[in-house]
Every structure is written in C-alpha cells, then in structure tokens.
C-alpha cells in the first residue's frame, strides 16, 4: 500500500482568524512592549496592539508567529496551551507557596555605631534591657518552626547582635534540634558590623555553619562618614572583620551589603571598585530606606530619586565594564529583576513580590516579642507607628498573626494586580505593591503611583533594563545571563573565591 503525506497546507495552515490572550503593553521608544500574564514579553513595531485589537494583523507574518509563540494570541490552528500558560503563571507566583521562609530575630537594639541612616532606634551598648529574653526567644523559635516552609532562614540581627552573643548561642542551640525534629532545612545568618568579632565567635560560627552578612558602604572616607562610631574606625574594623571571617569561614559564607546615602551618590565607581578590591562578587546598589531614622533625618540624608537613578545606571555600566574585563561581579537588583524578566521564575526578594512578601514570606520577632510584617514595619514601630505590628509571640499564634487586623489591612493592598496604576502596567509581572513603603512615604498603603518613589524607581530601572535587552549586545547579554544562571560569562562558575 502506498503511503503519502498529507498536503503541505495540512502542516502549515494559515489561520483565518485569531483571538487574544491576556496581555499588557506600553510604548517603548519607537516600539511597543507586550507582556503576557506569565511575564513573557515581545517587542513589536508601533501599531501592533491596534492591529491585534481590531483583528487586522496579518496571520501569515513572522510577527504573528512570534506573538503566537509568546502566548499573546491563539487561533483555530493552534491551542493556547492553557495548561502550559497556567503552569508558567503558577511558576511566576511560586513565592506565595510554602509559607514564611525568612525569620528575622532582633536579639538586641544595642549598637556601638550611630549611623545617620540607621534603621532602628539604637540603644547604647550598655542597656541590656533592650536584649531579647530566653522566654521570648523560645516562643519566636516555636513560631518559626510552625511555618509550613521546608526551608527556613533564621536571620539574627540588631542593633549589633554580637553584643548579645550569648543570646545567639541560645537561639542556635534551641533552633537546630527543633529543625531536625521537624525535618526542616535551617539556614542561619548573622548580620553584624563585625566590630566586635572575636576568634571564639568565629570558631563558633564555623562549627555551627553560620553565615555572616556585614555592611560595606564603600571606601574608608565614605564608610566612616556613613557609619560613625567612637574612634572613627568603622571601615577598618569592617575590613579586618571580613578578612578574619574569610580566614575561618568559607569565602562564600561572608557577604556584604552597602547602603546608599546622599554622600554615596557621587562615588558609585569608587564603591564598586572597593567591592572588587575586597574580592566580592556581588554588590547591591540599594536606595536608602525611607524608614526609621532615615525618615527623621530626611533633609540631611535626602536625595532625589533622579540622582539615585543616575547612580544606579552609572554603577551598572561600570560593573558591566568590569565583567567584560574578566572579573565577575553581579549587581543584585539587576539580577533580581532580570530573573523575573528573562526566566519563568520568581525570586525570594520580598520587597519585589506581589502579593507582597511582607508577613507572607518574612516575619520579624523583635527583642520584646512583638512580631512585625517586615524589618521596615519594625522600624516604623520604633517611630511609634505600629500599623504593621501583627501581634506578640507571648499572646499570639501563627494563625492569629495572619488573621490580625494589621495583617488583613495590609493584605488588601498587597497585590499590584489590583492597584490603581499597576493593574494596567506592562511591568506588573516584574514589580510589586509594597504597602509598607507607601504607608511610610504617602500615608496610604495603596499608594499614589504617579508620585510614588517606589514606582518611579522601578519604572525607570525596568525601562533601562529593557532598553539593554532590546539592544541585545552579545557581550552584555552574556554577562547578564551569567548573573542569572550563576555561571561565569565564559562558562560554569566554580567558586566565588
């Protein structure tokens, strides 16, 4: 029996009509940027959206095939593969599954530094009444273990937590066996300025597998200006501490974060170079937080968002140049946003999640047992604004924290999908709601997007990144992909050291 193929048109039929799948769009330079519900995007010629809406787009064009491939249209010759698209959407929202992962323990408010931008109401180093008690620690640990999350991170901070080192030991000793009993993977991080690090503490961290996160704001003149302490030696103590930590702990177990202040804005090159000189392989060009003391001294610290954006863009350019030169260093904010833009995945960075990650993905247990939706919520409370105080470890359960009036009010404003200004935005899939930021800066959790610093920053940064993507320079994209995938620009990464 002779076998014949079906006619050619059977394999390549031209559809006669098409239907739209949900998407958002914006004008982007001379083009249009279309983004579907799962965050997949396509640059199209100007006028494409109108042609799609009125049904006049040519169905035998390359553009039409691209639109179909990106789940922006479907037709009678194809399926929209709703299951596939639903899977992509679910993957993008993966951050809402699994329960609270990050648990921050504020073991003391005591600190030896007096930073202008300090995000807590620091207390002098001798006032032990601002330390966490063992009974509070016990209850906080129990709440952390009540989280359904399989992987939990215990972040110990202050104040300066090393001033309450005995409490760190107590918490670690209590939490580890409980995690084992509950079958949880427990990651422990201590956030310290390292000015009080000792060999005994370091050996303890090494033996217990504890990671260290510290602050490095740039070269000595800048770091010491941002972080005053008696002796004006914060920078030297931080550098010495970093080196000692690296000598005892493994290289990748020591991380540094920088805080941007008005004083930083003219020195992004110097800041990046300091991180390279200190052999770090990531840097987070963070804007200053509007919380805590930063609000009180806004005039002193304050700077305009435009200045920060220039700082960010200049910094990113310099970092990319360094990478092209062969040294791998990733800018973390870019890395987070590009992961959202270029991969199906979400990220663990709670400040850029919708529904908002506050409470849902992070809980803060203050030294006095009060529980907050985020570290920023606690900073507000230190300024007598307890809007985001969910409860107290001694009088609440995990369930009562999440059904508290404070939590429910916040959850109402936690989805950018349902916020004025965000619901139509092409960047919605990559951005967030951040009700706490908007409460702190605008007195309204829902926020007014046209005047929101959060919106202005993210819109500008996202446009900048999409502009880079659209230019599609091979060397630049190779570097950016290496940040997302954790490989070097020339091949798989081995160790950051």
């Amino acid at each position: 029996m002779a076998r014949v193929f079906y006619p050619l048109q059977h394999f390549d039929p031209t559809p006669t009509q098409f239907q739209l799948l949900p998407f958002r769009f914006m004008r982007f330079e001379e083009k249009e940027l279309l983004v579907n519900e799962a965050g997949e995007f396509l640059f199209t010629p100007s006028g494409t959206v109108r042609n799609l809406v009125d049904g006049s787009l040519e169905t035998n064009s390359v553009l039409y095939r691209d639109l179909k491939a990106k789940h922006l249209v479907y037709d009678d010759t194809s399926s929209a593969l709703l299951d596939v698209l639903a899977t992509k959407v679910r993957t993008k929202f993966d951050h809402i599954t699994g329960g609270t992962k990050l648990h921050i323990f504020v073991v003391t408010l005591r600190c030896d530094h007096s930073c202008h931008y300090c995000q807590v109401s620091r207390q002098s180093a001798s006032r032990a009444q601002f330390d966490m008690s063992t009974s509070t620690a016990d209850r906080a640990i129990a709440m952390m273990m009540d989280s359904p999350a399989q992987d939990v991170t215990l972040e110990i901070q202050g104040g300066e937590p090393l001033l309450a080192f005995e409490m760190i030991q107590y918490i670690v000793t209590k939490a580890k066996p409980l995690a084992l009993e509950k079958g949880k993977n427990l990651d422990i991080v201590v956030c310290s300025n390292l000015s009080h690090i000792t060999d005994d503490i370091l050996h303890y961290f090494r033996d217990e597998g504890i990671k260290v996160s510290t602050s490095l704001d740039g070269p000595a003149f800048l770091h010491n200006k941002n972080r005053p302490r008696p002796g004006n030696d914060s920078y030297q103590r931080a550098i010495d501490g970093i080196e000692r930590c690296r000598a005892v702990l493994r290289m990748e177990r020591v991380a540094a974060l920088m805080t941007t202040t008005a004083a930083s804005l003219d020195y992004v090159t110097e800041i990046v170079d300091e991180y390279v000189r200190r052999n770090f392989h990531s840097i987070f060009l963070r804007p200053i937080s509007p919380y805590g003391f930063a609000v009180k001294t806004h005039r002193k610290i304050g700077y305009e968002m435009e200045r920060f954006l220039k700082f960010y863009k200049d910094g990113l350019k310099h970092i990319l140049d360094i990478n092209r030169g062969g040294y791998r260093i990733a800018e973390v904010y870019t890395q987070i946003l590009l992961t959202k833009i270029l991969t199906p995945h979400s990220t663990r960075y709670v400040d850029m999640q919708s529904p908002a990650g506050e409470a849902w993905n992070v809980l803060v247990y203050n030294y006095d047992g009060d529980v907050y939706a985020s570290d920023e919520s606690r900073m507000l409370a230190e300024m007598n604004d307890r809007t985001f105080r969910l409860g107290n470890v001694h009088s609440d359960t995990r369930r009562s924290l999440f059904t508290s009036d404070a939590a429910l009010r916040m959850f109402h404003a936690a989805c950018n999908q349902a916020l004025v200004g965000c619901s139509d935005c092409a960047f919605q899939s990559y951005c967030a709601a951040d009700p706490i930021y908007h409460h702190a800066t605008q007195g309204d959790m829902y926020g007014n997007r046209p005047t929101s610093g959060f919106c202005m920053r993210n819109m500008s940064v996202l446009k900048h990144l999409f502009s880079i993507i659209e230019q599609n320079d091979r060397d630049t994209m190779r570097v950016l992909w290496s940040w997302i995938t954790g490989t070097t620009a020339h091949g798989p990464a081995t160790e950051c050291a």
């Binding site: 799948l21 769009f25 809402i96």
Partner: protein, 134 residues
C-alpha cells in the same frame, strides 16, 4: 508676570467620549496628575474638555507636545479596555487554573473554555477535565 501667566495657562484637550470612555480618561488623568492639575468638563454627552494646568509654573514644556502625549495615553487606555474586554474571561480561567493546581483554591474551577473558536472545536485542549484534581 506675563511669563508666569502664560506658563500657568491651562492646556485644553478635547476628548470624544465615543472613542475614549470616562474610565480611560480618568486613568489618563491619574498618570498626568503628578505634573498637572486635570480638570474635566463635559461639554455634552459625547465630548469632554480636559484642562491641564502645570503644577510647576516655571515649566517650559511645549503645549502641543503635552496635548499629543495626553491623547496618546488616553488612546492607549482605550486600547487596554478593549484588550481586557476580549481577554478577561480567559484571564480568569487561566488564573483559576494556575492556582487550582497549586492547591490553594477551595473549589476547583468548572466548565469549559467558552471561547468561540473552542466552542467550534470540541476536541480542543482548553477544557478543564471534570475537575480531575478533586
């Protein structure tokens, strides 16, 4: 004084409400509200006049350029309304399907896709198969 008066003079934009809905117009004004006070006056059932007064009296922006930007933004919001009208059903189904499989919904979504093309194609892949995850 004259310069300030000229800078403060509102820019007038005529909007056809048969093309751009009141909702699309309000969304446009929302985004322009950072830089302009937006006053909307209905001339009649079909036409609205929008008066844009700059919040910055020293702003030297070209009025015709601002007018163009406003109309372009309004047209874009009108397009978004049309996209939403055409896709809201499948969007709801998509999200329901995504989260039902994540196990966070108390009730599984029921029914078929309900699209014209799919209704004519009963063997298509859009069906949620009899709440199979129950």
């Amino acid at each position: 004084m004259d310069a300030n008066s000229r800078a403060a003079a509102p820019i007038e934009v005529e909007i056809s409400l048969s093309i751009i809905s009141a909702e699309a117009l309000l969304k446009t004004c929302y985004w322009f509200s950072r830089d302009y006070v937006c006053e909307i006056r209905n001339r009649d059932e079909n036409v609205a006049d929008v008066f844009l007064t700059s919040r910055d009296s020293s702003s030297g922006s070209d009025p015709s350029s601002i007018k163009d930007s406003f109309i372009t933004a309004a047209m874009d919001f009108a397009l978004r309304e049309k996209i939403e009208a055409k896709t809201s059903g499948i969007r709801d189904l998509l999200l329901a399907k995504a989260f039902s499989e994540a196990g966070v919904l108390e009730d599984q979504p029921e029914g078929i896709f309900g699209d014209k093309i799919e209704e004519a194609n009963p063997e298509g892949m859009f069906k949620i198969l009899n709440n199979r995850y129950r």
